[in-house]
């Protein structure tokens, strides 16, 4: 067989789960116009699609791609991240199952499926073009989801704000990616990493600097990091609670994975001017996001705004990992890789924030939405088990051992401290000190919610009954938060392997085809 076709058929096999999800998601979108079913049936169909995609993912689990030729990868990061995205899709579906009227249910769940397929593609992408298209495959359904379930003045404002900022950030990202391409003339990310690392002197290094600035700026919007964070509180507040949950997790997950794939794994490294500039930029973003997010969150009484600022703060912790990841190199064995910390943190963050939002959504009744911290007063009396689950999520968000959130923070700070770079050792230490101070500040507003739940009495007790799908999602998130916390080693092993494989450029036995084809033309 033609070698190009061999690479292609393998790549198509690897994206089979996404292809199935996209196919069935589009089918759901269109079927809604012809078939009338209840929203629960549509949701069950979406869940079945996710199950099929998961089964397909397991069936291609051991397929490997030719890293220098294929547009998709199936390394540890790609496989486990895709599995994670599938799991969190289930949680989101369970949270949203009752939040829309029947006539719009098929649109909503079909769009959620397409969005998840996009996020899975981001994790698998090994090519600048595919990476950008996959990121857009998440953005465009998000605009739709923001305005689909509820139509009032505030939702309209939130959707418009998100839409304009999002296309602006996509423009920045594309601009940066164009420069990344201009640096080497290759769009394959592994080949780009290989060139950046092993070609003795890369000409036109200034393109790398421009690329790092613009790509990081474009992705900072997605992860809600300073300076492109300001949309978050307004958009979260203006959209339905389950959309706020989706917005706090999916863009952050894909943004961070895209940073690992596009930036830290390619241009990162010791003694590289591009990596040093990337480190400085990530340092500033991390410090600013953590401090701003945590201090402003102290003043919030609205729950969605509080979680929006908390999401900005968590983006700051993860950017600390990005700063460390810029200085990680292939072959080194630090105590923790930056990417390792980010991935563990993402998992923990997804569990705790989606769990907390699921509770907020489930408690909201027809006549009473859970909007402020005071609405949770006396929850321990009316819903004792839910209050325990919420406490687990909040403790985990605050980073209290032995919960998943603690290990996320631990790995992030360990990666910053163990980065082998004498020139920047002091900067890393300062960043960790800022991070620890912020974790202490953050604990205050999480504890405030716990105090409200346990020690205050409500004017009017909550009587909402939690629907079983949402309840199951809450229980699953809570159990996993505790489970990863008390027995972290299997997860840590996976994230470590993922980080090592993400920055590895395999030995070139035969000439890497993508790289040579482009270079040869110019010779």
């Amino acid at each position: 067989m033609d070698p190009t076709l061999a690479v292609l058929s393998r790549a198509l096999l690897i994206v089979l789960p996404e292809a199935l999800m996209l196919l069935l998601g589009t089918a759901l979108l269109t079927a809604g116009a012809f078939v009338k079913l209840s929203r629960r049936t549509w949701c069950a169909l979406a869940v079945a699609t996710v199950a099929i995609a998961a089964a397909t993912l397991f069936s291609i689990w051991n397929d490997r791609a030719d890293v220098y030729a294929s547009v998709v990868l199936n390394d540890t990061l790609s496989r486990y991240a895709r599995l994670g995205f599938l799991f969190f899709t289930l949680v989101i579906l369970a949270t949203a199952h009752d939040q829309v009227e029947d006539s719009r249910a098929s649109d909503l769940f079909g769009t959620i499926l397409i969005l998840s397929a996009g996020s899975m593609l981001v994790a698998a992408a090994n090519d600048l073009i595919l990476m950008f298209v996959a990121l857009e495959l998440v953005s465009i359904p998000t605009y739709l989801l923001l305005y689909l379930p509820r139509r009032d003045e505030r939702t309209r404002e939130a959707a418009t704000k998100y839409f304009f900022l999002s296309i602006f950030s996509s423009g920045l990202l594309l601009f940066g990616m164009a420069y990344l391409y201009g640096l080497s003339g290759m769009s394959n990310l592994k080949a780009l990493g290989f060139a950046a690392r092993f070609v003795p002197e890369v000409p036109n290094i200034q393109f790398g600097l421009i690329a790092v600035v613009f790509v990081l700026a474009g992705l900072a919007f997605r992860v809600a990091a300073v300076p492109l964070h300001f949309y978050a509180p307004d958009v979260y507040e203006g959209s339905p609670a389950f959309m706020a949950a989706l917005l706090s997790w999916v863009p952050k997950g894909i943004g961070m994975i895209a940073i690992i794939r596009v930036l830290t794994s390619t241009v990162g490294g010791l003694n590289s001017p591009v990596a040093d500039k990337g480190f400085l930029l990530a340092w500033v973003i991390a410090a600013a996001s953590m401090t701003l997010g945590n201090t402003v969150a102290l003043l919030q009484n609205n729950l969605k705004r509080l979680f929006a600022y908390s999401s900005i703060a968590h983006a700051g912790y993860m950017m600390t990992g990005v700063a460390a990841a810029f200085h990680n190199t292939q072959g080194s064995l630090p105590l923790a890789f930056g990417a390792e910390g980010i991935l563990l943190y993402l998992l923990a963050y997804g569990l705790m924030t989606l769990g907390a939002f699921a509770i907020i959504v489930a408690l909201g009744g027809p006549d009473r939405e859970i909007a402020t911290v005071d609405d949770l007063n006396g929850l321990a009396k009316s819903h004792p088990r839910t209050a325990v689950a919420m406490t687990v999520f909040l403790f985990s968000l605050a980073g209290i051992p032995p919960l998943a959130g603690f290990w996320g923070k631990y790995q992030i700070f360990a990666s910053a401290l163990s980065s082998i770079n004498d020139d920047y050792a002091r900067s890393y230490q300062y960043l960790v000190v800022i991070g620890l101070l912020n974790a202490a500040i953050g604990a205050y507003y999480y504890l405030r919610i716990i105090v409200a739940m346990y020690f205050k009495t409500a004017d009017q007790a909550l009587t909402t009954k939690i629907a079983w799908p949402t309840g199951a999602a809450i229980v699953a998130c809570a159990l996993l938060t505790i489970g990863f916390g008390v027995y972290p080693s299997p997860t840590c092993n996976v994230t470590r392997r993922a980080a090592i494989e993400a920055i590895r450029s395999p030995e070139v036995t035969a000439a890497p085809r993508t790289a040579t084809r482009v270079v040869d033309r110019s010779n």
Partner: protein, 224 residues
């Protein structure tokens, strides 16, 4: 000769761009933009990238500009003076942003250094000379002279996955726009619909039995 033609068209392009920015009428601005797109196509031809020129005309003038004009005509008051006039501060900020963008682009082009094998962009003139093509590997010359074929081949082999996904992206945007524009009953906020037990004029109450049975307010048990 070629160079002076190039400069002439660049000047016209610059005027078209200024016209886009300065004209107060949105439709005129859009038409200036079409002119600008066309000049870009001309520049591609002068740079001997005929395929790109064709794509530029097809995509930008044929699709983007027409879409833009339709968008303006369907949504705005075309005479609108309000829509295109901005305050001085806004103008200054966006002017500064535009200059900064220009600086970044100019720096990149001017500071580009060549390597021994491959000269800098500013040093390349005309098409590459004949090169000895190796087995199975396209030479630069082949690629440039058969650009449509090369691009087509790459899109159908190496980049077929991103290509198909881009197509799907457009489908999603289209279906999504229809879903958003579809009028189901009235545009009622969900709270009111939920109070009514999720019934709407198009979905009769007996059509969704669980909607009535589990209307959350109907359940009065204090804990779950």
């Amino acid at each position: 000769m070629i160079q002076s033609i190039f400069l002439l068209f660049s000047a016209i392009g610059l005027m078209a761009a200024l016209g886009t920015v300065l004209s107060r009428n949105l439709v005129r601005a859009a038409l200036w933009l079409v002119a600008f797109f066309f000049i870009i196509a001309v520049q591609f031809v002068l740079l001997e990238a005929e395929f790109l020129a064709a794509i530029q005309v097809l995509v930008y003038i044929g699709a983007v500009a027409i879409l833009l004009l339709f968008g303006i005509m369907l949504t705005r008051n075309i005479q609108g003076d309000e829509t295109t006039s901005a305050s001085l501060n806004t103008k200054l900020i966006f002017g500064a942003l535009g200059l900064a963008l220009f600086a970044v682009l100019a720096t990149a082009i001017v500071s580009h250094k060549g390597t021994p094998e491959r000269p800098a962009w500013s040093k390349i003139q005309g098409r590459p000379d004949d090169e000895a093509g190796r087995d199975g590997v396209l030479t630069r010359k082949d690629t440039i002279n058969n650009m449509a074929k090369t691009v087509g081949d790459e899109m159908m082999t190496r980049f077929v996955i991103p290509f198909e996904i881009a197509g799907l992206l457009l489908t999603v945007a289209l279906v999504g726009a229809v879903a958003l524009a579809r009028q189901v009953g009235a545009d009622e906020p969900i709270d009111r619909v939920r109070k009514a037990g999720f019934t709407r004029d198009d979905a009769p109450a007996n059509g969704s039995p669980e909607g009535v049975a589990e209307a959350p307010g109907a359940v009065a048990s204090p804990s779950h």
